[in-house]
Assembly symmetry: C2
Homo-oligomer: 196 residues x 2
Amino acid sequence: MELLEKRILKDGTVLPGNILKVGSFLNHQLDVDLLDAMGAEFARLYQNQKITKILTIEASGIAIACFAARYFKLDNNCSVPVVFAKKNKTNNVNSDVYSTQIQSFTHGKTYDVIISKQFLNAKDRVLIIDDFLANGCALQGLIKLVQDAGATVVGAGIAIEKGFQNGGQLIRSQGTRLESLAIIESMTENSISFRH
Amino acid sequence: MELLEKRILKDGTVLPGNILKVGSFLNHQLDVDLLDAMGAEFARLYQNQKITKILTIEASGIAIACFAARYFKLDNNCSVPVVFAKKNKTNNVNSDVYSTQIQSFTHGKTYDVIISKQFLNAKDRVLIIDDFLANGCALQGLIKLVQDAGATVVGAGIAIEKGFQNGGQLIRSQGTRLESLAIIESMTENSISFRH
């Protein structure tokens, strides 16, 4: 998506350790016009797929997921709901939730992620949306939660995929449809190049 | 806001400890059409206030803030940006951020909340948006962050205010404009009544 690539080139910053900072528009300050355009693009990519729910994970996936949701309509013409998985703050995971463990690339730790069972069911056709894909742990965790519910993963929509890490290849090799709006082929402190 | 009150009556659940569960539409699963209508209502309440930024706190404030932001335009006709304060996951708070401590009513603990200094400046006219107001700790923390930046708090927009707790009175008595879309006067497991 050219609009997103241009914005990454203009405002993204590469830090040591393969960190791409996009806090000025994507995950601390939010450019809601850009996010809305990204939502429309996800809707174009996944049109006619009878999506019933958009799943993301707190916190930075929520905004993109919400804007995308407005472009997906249920049969009653309401927008599809967004469900965001929560990073569990307590140690007790109870029987009312689907849960899995996710290892964070950015924060270097593992945490429990949960979704209340009442918000995912076997009839759901789910589009998973997130801001970043690196090693794929978060996305694999979300896919597992959908599968635990017996629901269908229609595909995943990612804002920025780090193409030089193995998450994208891993997810695609498992047969999950994956659409990333910008795929970074390589990056250094002075340059960022994209895969097309 | 009648639409929100009706939805609370229909789908909200009161649990012991003055907990109001609205996870089916506001803070776990998100009804984005409702959130969009709430955003429009905040825009009506704060029109002509020359808002330049919407501030919220992760995670559940993000969606409401984003939908509101689309209704507030800058002079260049872009939507105002949303900035969300982050609950700090590391122990080091550096000099690049404004930080404060907030005590969570729901989770019963205190955490550091931070905003990168580059996303708030003295010229900003800020509308603070959040999903809940109970004892007012989160809102007071966000007000402090705006003041630390030398920016102006135009007001706050809250989805659900627990009118039987003291946060609303506290904030209003400090002279901050506060608009809550639904104010709960009292609630029990069997009934919820609103202040009008």
